[in-house]
């Protein structure tokens, strides 16, 4: 499986994270998104005319939507990440997968503007980002009241992975995540998962390991 990847792209990170969590290995093909704009050049446009990344290739299968990539990886290696298959849970999953695309536009757009100087109406993007975070917070509060720490279920699913990166990186775009206790709890639960990997801007939770000592033989 080959992933056309940009290390700073939260959407690409969704796929890298999902692969790590499910034990799948990816063949990474780095794309010079910035400063090179490679995603908009001939070679990659031939694969994905939309000019976006990530792009995932597996034999004949070519995917250009990160949600689809998450579903594919889960389907191949760890179907428990797709929920229990009931109509209700599948619907909850879809609801949040669709929601996650809005995050790419608002929180992601704000981040690209503030950090990588891409054009955009920053005040509008940030306001939309706040509205989206409030929506996510309300959803997580209700899930919490039902005794479920994750968006669609009592265990993480692709819906959580789809939403997590842009939320965790919202401050990059000038949108604080401080006012959302349920989001903070959920984000921490994701970052504490076995085989979780970070991306630049999402740092390691050092508290998960006790303070290592030199000379105990542990490195």
């Amino acid at each position: 499986m080959k992933l056309y990847d940009y290390i700073l792209s939260p959407s690409c990170y969704k796929v890298r994270l999902m692969a790590a969590l499910t034990g799948l290995s990816l063949d990474i093909r780095p794309v010079d998104f910035h400063p090179g704009g490679e995603h908009r050049k001939a070679e990659l446009l031939a694969l994905n005319p939309a000019g976006s990344i990530p792009i995932l290739e597996d034999g004949d299968l070519l995917l250009t939507e990160s949600s689809a990539m998450l579903v594919y990886l889960a389907g191949k290696a760890a179907p428990e990440w797709l929920g229990d298959g009931t109509a209700e849970q599948s619907a909850r999953l879809q609801q949040w997968l669709s929601f996650s695309h809005r995050l790419t536009a608002n929180l992601g757009g704000a981040r690209l503007h503030e950090m990588l100087l891409r054009p955009g109406d920053i005040a509008l993007l940030q306001a939309q980002g706040v509205a989206a975070l409030r929506e996510l917070e309300a959803g997580l509060v209700e899930q919490g009241l039902r005794g479920m720490p994750f968006l669609a279920s009592d265990r993480p699913t692709v819906a959580d992975i789809a939403c997590f990166p842009y939320v965790a990186l919202a401050p990059d775009g000038g949108v604080s995540v401080d006012p959302y206790p349920a989001i903070r709890r959920w984000s921490r639960a994701i970052r504490a998962l076995d085989n979780f990997i970070e991306m630049p801007g999402i740092h390691r939770l050092h508290e998960l390991k006790p303070e290592p000592q030199i000379g105990t033989g542990e490195e």
């Binding site: 780095p30 910035h34 100087l117 740092h203």
Partner: protein, 281 residues
């Protein structure tokens, strides 16, 4: 006015490879400027009002000044060595003082906590003594004999090594880092941070590198350096106060911070105070 000392310096304002005939709008110390390339292929920098500014093309970037620079852009002799690969890492905007951006680049004690498992890892957190001086002739800050154990110090390193560093500040918002070059142990890899001050609390950071590495792809080199810088960005945007304190009292250095102490002293001596605060609050 105290901040005028920095007006006469050279600052990066764009990547030469990306400058077009249509103007790229940016700013220097609050002054709106425009960067473009003329029909002859030379860079043109003007204020938005049309005043032509001095400009240079050096180290892959267009440099300019809204004042009157008294000397040329600092030299990096290693950049002229044959076999070097030059890497334009690309601009990143940070909501912080340009001086804080430079100071963070000079710091190594944060490696295990911020660049975990790349430039450092617990429990190897000790910073051994190193040498710092303000060199009178060049009028630059230099730190030498800096050492730190790193799990994966460079794209060209195959495992953990004790990396040696030298740090140099040749201009108020520029720093040059020389680090152990795994493929050529007698040479230094050169990594720079050129910081463009947009406002006292906002800057565009232009990292650049001159490396000996024939194996790693250009994109991988770019991504490695962007990774490191992006890990620093959320630190830089959350330091209080925003402006770099140049007087003692607000912040407490230790022996690991000798480079930053010298940098702050050198800034104060020269009245390089754009992005700094003077009275301890």
């Amino acid at each position: 006015m105290a901040k005028e000392a920095m007006l006469d310096e050279w600052y990066p304002v764009g990547l030469f490879s990306q400058v077009k005939t249509t103007a790229y709008k940016t700013a220097l110390m609050g002054e709106p400027i425009e960067v473009s390339v003329g029909a002859d292929g030379n860079a043109i920098v003007t204020t938005s009002g049309g005043r032509v500014l001095s400009s240079r093309v050096r180290y892959g970037h267009v440099w300019s000044s809204i004042g009157d620079p008294q000397k040329e852009i600092f030299s990096i002799p290693e950049a002229d060595q044959p076999g070097r690969r030059f890497v334009d890492v690309g601009v990143v905007r940070v909501r912080c003082s340009p001086l804080r951006a430079v100071e963070n680049f000079l710091d190594i004690a944060h490696f295990p906590f911020v660049h975990t498992d790349i430039l450092g890892a617990e429990p190897h957190t000790e910073v051994q003594n190193y040498k710092v001086e303000i060199r009178d002739v060049e009028d630059e800050v230099w730190a030498t004999q800096v050492k730190f154990y790193q799990p994966q110090a460079a794209k060209s390193a195959s495992g953990g090594i004790t990396t040696e560093y030298m740090y140099r500040v040749p201009a108020p918002t520029c720093s040059v880092l020389y680090k152990t070059c795994p493929p050529r142990p007698s040479e230094w890899d050169v990594i720079t941070l050129f910081v463009q001050p947009l406002a006292e609390d906002l800057c565009d950071v232009w990292p650049w590198m001159a490396l000996f590495d024939d194996e790693t792809s250009m994109t991988d080199l770019i991504h490695f350096q962007q990774t490191i810088f992006l890990q620093d960005r959320s630190i830089l945007e959350n330091q209080i106060p925003r402006l770099l304190p140049l007087d003692p009292g607000m912040e407490i250095p230790t022996r690991a911070d000798l480079t930053s102490v010298a940098y702050r002293r050198w800034l104060k001596r020269h009245n390089y105070t754009y992005g700094a605060q003077l009275v301890a609050q």
